[in-house]
């Protein structure tokens, strides 16, 4: 049971889940606190993979938006819908809003963050550390041929992934 949900979450953030399935998934998250947390973690992972910059919303961000929408008076509707429909709509809008914000962030790598979101730059630190490690390895190998002996430096991984300059 867990695997299909994880797969659907992954598909959702890859924009590969159809509307009906996406709606079902979001509906399922409504009463499942663990699933809500998982949804947020997947959103963070998806954003980290797609963008160098990352601003992470507070964990209760979606709840806050949802609650606000629930209590928001709706002036444009001719008559008030029943409460259940409103909740569903609110949840869907909130989820869409989160997705839209994350997608916007991923598609604009230069963006520095969102003015109204209390963010933590986690992904940026990870990328910096990775870049530093990669650079350190390259410098080590250029520094001294003895490092080819030591597999800790990751010479083998270079052999597998690097495209080399021809002599």
């Amino acid at each position: 049971m867990q695997e299909p949900i994880n797969e659907k979450l992954s598909l959702l953030f890859d924009d590969q889940l159809d509307t009906v399935e996406a709606y079902r998934l979001l509906k399922a998250t409504r009463h499942d606190e663990q699933l809500q947390l998982k949804l947020q973690r997947y959103a963070l992972i998806a954003q980290s993979l797609k963008s160098e910059q990352c601003s992470v919303a507070n964990l209760d961000f979606v709840d806050k938006v949802s609650r606000q929408l629930e209590h928001e008076p709706i002036y444009l509707l001719p008559h008030k819908k029943h409460k259940g429909y409103l909740k569903k709509t609110g949840l869907a809008v909130a989820a869409s809003l989160v997705l839209a914000v994350l997608w916007l962030s991923a598609s604009r790598p230069g963006i520095q963050g969102f003015p109204n979101v209390a963010g933590n730059s986690i992904a940026q630190h990870t990328i910096d550390a990775e870049q530093m490690n990669a650079r350190f390895k390259e410098y080590l190998l250029a520094h001294d041929n003895v490092w080819y002996v030591n597999n800790n430096v990751g010479v083998q991984s270079y052999a597998r992934v690097a495209s080399y300059q021809q002599k």
Binding site: Q124, D128, Q131, M132, A134, R135, F136, E138, Y139, L140, L141, A142, H143, D144, N145, V146, Y148, V149, N150, N151, N152, V153, V155, Q156, Y158, A159, R160, V161, A162, Y164, Q165, Q166, K167
Partner: protein, 315 residues
């Protein structure tokens, strides 16, 4: 430093009882000469960065050119060969081969100064006790730095062949940073035919490093802090393996330890601070639009000292 004072006293006592008339410098000179002229092989253990690698080792000299071959006995299976300054690394499981050309010759076993007698101001080279290594009598030579910009070492030298059988590198607190140790060792009388034979004709062959010689004085960089005893070995423009970034590379050496200084344009995110891997420390800082990284098998204060002295030349 307290450790090294005690260490030195112990060595001095041992040295006083030493029957050999050679001093530490003369021993190291003979070791350097033997390493460049003799053929030998054995099994060697590298203990570096918390990892143990056991490898078959072979050293041959043909027409004055040194060849070394290391073959790992454990996974990941690989074979590293050196012909003078040309290095090749073959990964047997993936049939990949990396070839690299380093600007200087450097033994896989130990780096020794060409002129140990010139290191009086930086190192005390002491003849210490004797031990058995790989069932062979060995003379211990202690290499003790006189400042905190380099590491202490001990080298166990085979008394019969003058070849190094064991090397230990110590941190400033006396802990062992790395060891190289022969468990099996034999001096060959004739050069092996294997050394020149192609080992793996089927492997995919790729090459690394395009180098252009340059001169530090012609560059835009200036090195204000130059540790005593370190000399410029080369200054080249080099392409990094994976990133393909063009980096200016300055190598300094005092004979035992090397320090590299890398200059490149600052990227989107400048890198600053210290990073360590076993005995290797690196210190990065941003100087204007320049990313500077100093890296070497020296204590952290040495790389920080050099890095803090880097400036951009004003024309």
């Amino acid at each position: 430093m307290r450790f090294f004072i005690v260490f030195f006293l112990a060595i001095s006592c041992a040295a006083a009882q030493e029957s050999s008339s050679l001093n530490g410098q003369q021993w190291l000179k003979k070791v350097g000469d033997s390493m460049k002229t003799l053929n030998y092989h054995g099994t060697v253990i590298f203990m570096k960065n918390g990892q143990i690698d056991t490898m078959k080792y072979q050293h041959t000299v043909e027409n004055g050119i040194e060849n070394e071959r290391l073959t790992s006995l454990n996974s990941p299976l690989r074979e590293v060969t050196r012909k003078s300054n040309e290095i090749s690394c073959i990964f047997k499981e993936t049939h990949k081969k990396i070839e690299s050309q380093h600007p200087i010759d450097r033994s896989f076993i130990v780096d020794l100064p060409a002129h140990p007698e010139r290191l009086d101001e930086q190192y005390l080279l002491a003849v210490a006790g004797q031990e058995m290594i790989a069932m062979r009598p060995a003379q211990i030579i202690a290499v003790l730095p006189k400042d905190e910009l380099r590491y202490a070492r001990k080298i166990w030298v085979d008394k019969a062949s003058w070849l190094p059988l064991k090397i230990e590198v110590y941190a400033l607190d006396g802990s062992t940073l790395e060891q190289v140790l022969f468990t099996e060792f034999e001096v060959d009388t004739l050069a092996s035919d294997q050394a020149s034979a192609p080992m793996h004709p089927q492997v995919e062959n790729r090459h690394l490093h395009a180098e252009n010689n340059g001169a530090l004085e012609d560059s835009a960089f200036r090195l204000g802090n130059w540790p005593a005893g370190f000399k410029e070995v080369f200054f080249i423009r080099n392409a990094m393996q994976q990133s393909k970034k063009i980096v200016d590379h300055l190598l300094l050496s005092d004979g035992f330890s090397n320090i590299s200084v890398y200059f490149e344009p600052k990227g989107e995110h400048g890198i600053e601070g210290l990073k360590s891997l076993g005995p290797v420390n690196s210190f990065s800082r941003v100087v204007g639009d320049l990313q500077v990284t100093v890296l070497g098998e020296v204590p952290s204060q040495a790389v920080e000292f050099v890095a803090n002295g880097v400036s951009v030349r004003r024309n």
